[in-house]
């Protein structure tokens, strides 16, 4: 299915990406070509095939990953905030949410 520049704009919005006009012109034919390529899968009959969700092996599926609900040591506030671009008073500060 061909992907138009308008489609690219819509997808970029969904993905929280700002796209320049140049990028829109570049991406539309490239993504169209890739989508057309992957559409070769339509030729395969998969009506009775279960989807493989996730990558686990049978042994991985059987591994129990739950643990007792007990408090464990964690990073702590100071370390967790250390890499933030704009930390403030023990929080992550962001620009205003509502316009």
């Amino acid at each position: 299915m061909p992907i138009t520049e308008a489609d690219i704009e819509k997808i970029a919005q969904l993905a929280h990406l700002e796209i320049t006009d140049d990028e829109r012109r570049l991406f539309a034919p490239q993504i169209s070509e890739i989508v057309t390529y992957v559409e070769q899968l339509n030729a395969i009959d998969t009506t009775a095939v279960e989807p493989a969700l996730g990558g686990l092996t049978p042994e991985g599926e059987q591994t129990v990953s739950s643990r007792r609900d007990e408090v464990q040591p964690s990073l702590g506030q100071e370390l967790a905030l250390e890499q933030a671009p704009d930390p403030a008073a023990g929080h992550f500060r962001v620009p205003k949410v509502l316009g």
């Binding site: 993905a15 490239q30 395969i44 591994t63 890499q83 962001v94």
Partner: protein, 481 residues
């Protein structure tokens, strides 16, 4: 470069020191980085400190990697060093914790000398997608080292370090290993913890090893393999002794070859090298059997739906709030997200996020994502059936030797087709290893790939070791420490 067992034994016996081994690796890394661009960070002070700690330890016999210098792909978290993922969006990020594999390497006595360059967020097959310039192939500086773990592959190939870690989502350890003439091992999905590896495609990602020698890859896997409560996908499967059967012969083992996979699209010199390696295995006593992987031809299509879908979700976390880069002059939150991601991500990452967003979007999910997961099931069944007839499947690792910079950069689909032989292992979750099997007429390395059933790393290592012992490459890259 000495093998790690020689190096480590010398250090344990006191014939040499971790400091000497570390200094020699640091010197080589610093000297060669101008030409190779393999390292994004070289931590001289930290590495020498760490080496001094190892030297100060009176009893080193319990340290399987005592004093072994290591390079780590820059998408695996090491405390005290940067983690950039080859991207601008992580800005000056320095992770406050170690990946589980790093804790294990350190506990085993190894010394991390630096972080290696890679395609941005491990998305690429040539290293041309690094925001910090591509790594150069040590065999020919005008050619790509492969990707995405190109820095780790080049660092090992150039003799800077004996071993390095990479990550493999669709071939990112095996493909650069092949193009740089080193060993590249991708373990079974769930064999090695990904805690502290920056996620790309969570149902595909696996940390892998790049090494000069198969025995070294085995020694490293021994240290990093096993269950980790911080990564729920690690499986509760015993870790065997990977070195125990390395020297056993391969007589009677059955190697499966798919003639279809050696057909169209394979460079004639790659095909010739693979045919020779099949003969070499026959000479070693292995039995060669025909296998069929009828859905392998759809693997790239399946992979680029699943991997981009997972990436679009995983990369949503890079929004300029909790870490990394934040765009300036964005007065409102949504605008800040969009500007940060626009300025922080490179074109290939944007392309994949958009493709992934598209295939997951309302109205298209069944047609693309669900369909791809169904074909993934068929591909897994192909492997199950193939492994009823053989112990390992042999293919080329890549369709061509290393290509020139710029050759495929404007054609994303052509670039994706480099991964035709490697993505199948990630989709099926099986382990794979790339072994150098010859040089092209231009003197470029060619790799053969062996894929095995789940948890068959020991057997793959044995097959690889037998090949490397019988047919060593006997050549060095132009750029070498």
């Amino acid at each position: 470069m000495k093998s790690i067992s020689n190096l480590r034994d010398g250090i344990v016996r006191g014939e040499t020191t971790a400091r000497a081994a570390t200094e020699s690796a640091l010197n080589a890394a610093e000297k060669l980085n101008d030409s190779l661009n393999a390292f994004l960070e070289i931590d001289r002070a930290g590495a020498l400190n760490r080496a001094a700690q190892v030297d100060a330890q009176s009893e080193k016999t319990d340290l399987p990697l005592a004093g072994v210098p290591f390079a780590i792909k820059d998408n695996i978290c090491v405390r005290g060093m940067q983690t950039s993922c080859g991207s601008r969006i992580l800005g000056p990020y320095h992770p406050p914790y170690n990946a589980t594999v790093i804790d294990r390497l350190i506990a085993a006595g190894s010394v991390i000398i630096g972080k290696t360059n890679c395609d941005e967020f491990a998305m690429g097959s040539s290293n041309e997608n690094s925001a910090f310039g591509p790594v150069k192939n040590p065999w020919d500086l005008s050619r790509v080292p492969g990707g995405s773990s190109g820095g780790s592959a080049a660092a090992v190939a150039a003799g800077i370090v004996p071993v390095a870690l990479g990550s493999d989502t669709g071939g990112s350890v095996r493909q650069p290993a092949a193009l740089c003439g080193v060993i590249g091992l991708k373990p079974t999905y769930g064999r090695v913890s990904r805690y502290g590896l920056v996620a790309f495609g969570s149902s595909l990602d696996q940390i892998g090893v790049l090494a000069g020698e198969v025995s070294d890859a085995a020694a490293v896997l021994q240290v990093i393999a096993g269950r980790d409560s911080s990564d729920a996908t690690t499986a509760d499967v015993p870790v065997p002794d990977y070195s125990a059967e390395l020297n056993e012969d391969v007589k009677g083992l059955r190697i499966g070859v798919s003639r279809v996979l050696l057909g169209k699209g394979v460079h004639p010199e790659v095909r010739a090298a693979i045919e020779k390696s099949i003969e070499a295995y026959r000479d070693l006593g292995a039995e060669i059997v025909d296998v069929d992987l009828p859905h392998a031809k759809y693997a790239i299509a399946v992979y680029y739906i699943i991997a981009t879908a997972e990436a679009s979700s995983n990369l949503a976390r890079f929004d300029g709030v909790r870490y990394g880069f934040r765009a300036k002059d964005a007065p409102a939150l949504k605008e800040m997200y969009r500007k940060t991601r626009d300025e922080g991500f490179g074109p290939e990452v944007k392309r994949r996020i958009m493709l992934g967003t598209y295939v997951l979007s309302h109205g298209y999910y069944d047609a693309y994502y669900l369909k791809a997961q169904q074909v993934r099931t068929l591909l897994r069944q192909d492997f199950t059936r193939a492994f009823e007839k053989c112990d390992a499947v042999l293919t080329p690792t890549t369709p061509t030797p290393a290509f020139l910079f710029g050759e495929k950069v404007d054609d994303p689909l052509a670039m994706y087709l480099n991964d035709i032989y490697t993505v199948t292992a990630n989709l099926a979750g099986v382990p794979g290893i790339s072994v150098p099997c010859g040089l092209s007429s231009d003197g470029l390395p060619i790799g053969l790939q062996l894929l095995g059933p789940y948890w068959s790393e020991a057997r793959l290592l044995r097959l690889a070791h037998a090949y490397q012992t019988a047919r060593p490459l006997n050549a060095r890259p132009r750029v070498f420490a």
